[in-house]
């Protein structure tokens, strides 16, 4: 396969001004990923700071209630900062320091990646600026304040639809202006090469651990692994170590918003077409002229019109399956997991929980299913209350 490509997907579709920066980044990454000291420091941070390995929790009540396969939750919500985003951020921020950068910038949707980036910057002593769509700063006001507490500057993006896509646009524009001292900590398995590969590698610890943990618990591989997909970093992270195990079904849950027939969704594989945007060839929600379409989801983290190129490839070759899950289904799964297991998960992750509620009863009791609980749901409580029409006097 050509460098930086997953089949025909991926690539480096980015302004010339950034090309040498991407080439330097690729070289630095190729060097440090094999560097013993770098890996020791990163492992220590993941263990002692982020709290890894994350638990693989057997959800006994959920299993019993659904009456099918045993359900395990990969608890990325228990990581420091409350989501899987810290895995990638620690890796990239360490790398940025090795490259001599003194400043990081990052986009954020729900705020989880922004909080993780601000955290790593505080820990490692780098300047940090976050770009967040104005609409998301309102949906996730608490996270804005968290980032500021951590010493980051939060730029509210008012262009376009004022959500994640526009935050990525603005962060790229900032990076084109100032790359000499600044690294762009991209938050998902997307963008130009080497980001999709590098972010996947940093996130693949999720799947490495899950594999060991499930083999220890069950003595066999799971029947299925289910994760939510926006750009797709938690999904790619947990899928990656299982790709060769074709008996393991890999399922990505896309945000169907108000329903895929309404046009108000972010179901990229289900409804999108191939295209080139944000540095990569992949699938995108777009109109009949190739203009990127406005997308919608209750979940700010899945509210993105594209998907990482490796997911496009896994879809293309039929190795992974991508299914739409609506706001209503996700909110109901959010409430279900809270009541059944006492776990308030991110509304993003609730998309995966919802699909497993449908899948599990039809899978044999001897089998298991792993859900990647990519993040915790504290940030979503107010939005869920609003969705249900509950006034909580915010």
């Amino acid at each position: 396969m050509k460098k930086g490509k997953f089949g025909k997907y991926g690539g480096q579709y980015i302004p010339e001004t950034l090309m040498n920066e991407l080439i330097s980044l690729e070289k630095a990454y190729d060097y440090y990923k094999e560097d013993a000291d770098f890996n020791t420091v990163l492992s220590q941070l993941l263990k002692n700071y982020a709290g890894r390995p994350s638990l693989l929790y057997y959800a006994a009540k959920m299993t019993e209630e659904l009456g099918g396969a045993k359900i395990y939750l990969k608890r990325e919500d228990l990581n420091h900062t409350g989501s899987h985003k810290i895995n990638n951020v620690l890796g990239q921020t360490l790398l940025a320091k090795k490259m001599g950068k003194t400043r990081i910038i990052a986009e954020t949707g729900a705020g989880q990646h922004g909080v993780a980036a601000a955290t790593a910057a505080a820990l490692l002593g780098l300047e940090c600026e976050i770009f967040m769509g104005l609409e998301d700063t309102q949906r996730q006001a608490l996270n804005v304040f968290r980032m500021e507490l951590l010493g980051a500057k939060v730029n509210k993006v008012t262009s376009g639809t004022m959500t994640l896509k526009d935050a990525v646009n603005e962060t790229m524009r900032e990076w084109v202006s100032r790359a000499h001292d600044t690294h762009y900590v991209l938050g998902s398995v997307m963008g130009p090469h080497p980001f999709p590969t590098m972010v996947r590698d940093f996130q693949s610890i999720i799947g490495c651990e899950a594999r060991e943990q499930i083999l220890q618990a069950e003595g066999r591989l799971p029947a299925a692994i289910v994760a939510c997909v926006g750009g797709g970093s938690n999904a790619m992270g947990i899928f990656y170590d299982f790709i060769e195990d074709t008996s393991v079904k890999l399922v990505g849950c896309e945000a169907a918003g108000l329903g895929i027939e309404t046009g108000r969704h972010a179901a990229t594989i289900t409804k999108g077409k191939e295209g080139v945007f944000h540095g990569m060839k992949s699938y995108f929600c777009q109109d009949e002229h190739g203009q990127i379409a406005p997308v919608y989801s209750i979940s700010a983290g899945l509210d993105y019109p594209g998907i990482g190129p490796e997911h496009a490839y896994l879809h293309h070759i039929g190795r992974a399956q991508y299914v739409p899950v609506t706001d209503e289904q996700a909110v109901s799964a959010f409430e279900y997991l809270a009541r059944t297991e006492g776990i308030i998960c991110a509304v993003e992750s609730a998309h995966a929980v919802s699909y497993v509620r449908e899948l599990a009863p039809s899978v044999d009791k001897e089998e298991s299913i792993i859900i990647c609980v990519s993040g915790r749901g504290d940030k979503d409580v107010a939005a869920i209350a609003r969705y249900r029409g509950v006034d909580i006097n915010e």
Binding site: Q12, E16, M19, N20, N169, V176, F277, K281
Partner: protein
């Protein structure tokens, strides 16, 4: 010699940019002709895109105005056909890759040829990725115009040697937009280009005033002005024609 190279044959070239369909297709037609009357040697028509990541606020806003007014790739082909009845000035499209990918490369470049578009600039298609577009561009004799930036360094050689039409030299880091000062070492950048290729080199990004134009035209074969023109259109709307004529005339005289 392609039509584009002709525009560099007589002195320094002035290249004017506008976003196609801002504020309307009819007005774009008039504005292009006014720029040509004012002395523009080549006209760049921006194909509006929902997410123009290389553009600053001025051209971003023009993209939104043009899309809201119903501009599209097909309508811009019609615009070029109309302009072609009135002038032989070289015309190039500036477009992000997705609308072209969506149109289909072969179909897009064939239509360019039929409409007599001379070249295409794709800011999110660096040299390494040009391979998928190049065969269709070549087959239809459309110049695929490459960019070099102040950060290109060792990449300049390969890009310049393989360039067609002209070379778009990006004057500054960052996105498009009017700049008071251009801080890049342009003499060195252009020297690096000229050392490896005799392709005409035009400098763009940030150029606004006749003084800047005069300075850069001593170093390069032409200048590209975008945001300053789009600002005039933003300010004067439907009445921008005569202001564009005067602006271009002043700038051309400064070269």
């Amino acid at each position: 010699m392609s039509n584009i190279k002709h525009c560099f044959a007589n002195g320094k070239a002035f290249i004017g940019f506008l976003t196609g369909g801002d504020p309307s297709l009819e007005k774009s037609e008039e504005f292009i002709l006014e720029m040509v009357r004012g002395g523009a040697d080549l006209v760049e028509i921006g194909v509006p895109f929902s997410d123009p990541i290389a553009e600053g606020p001025v051209i971003q806003a023009a993209n939104i105005r043009a899309l809201d007014a119903g501009s599209s790739v097909d309508k811009l082909f019609q615009l070029v056909r109309k302009v072609r009845r009135q002038t032989t000035v070289p015309i190039v499209f500036l477009t992000y890759l997705n609308p072209v990918y969506h149109y289909g490369y072969e179909e897009f470049f064939k239509t360019c040829r039929l409409a007599e578009v001379d070249g295409i600039i794709i800011p999110d298609l660096p040299y390494e990725e040009q391979g998928e577009v190049r065969p269709s561009a070549l087959a239809n004799e459309i110049d695929l115009i490459s960019l070099v930036a102040p950060t290109s360094e060792d990449r300049i050689k390969e890009i310049a040697i393989n360039a067609s039409g002209f070379l778009y030299v990006v004057s500054s880091l960052g996105v498009t937009g009017v700049r008071k000062e251009i801080t890049t070492d342009l003499p060195s950048l252009l020297q690096a280009v000229k050392a490896v290729s005799d392709i005409p080199a035009a400098v763009g990004f940030g150029i606004n005033t006749p003084e800047q134009a005069a300075y850069i035209s001593r170093l390069a074969d032409g200048i590209i002005v975008g945001s300053a023109i789009v600002k005039i259109i933003e300010k004067h709307g439907n009445k921008a024609g005569r202001y564009l004529y005067e602006y271009v005339k002043n700038m051309k005289e400064a070269l």
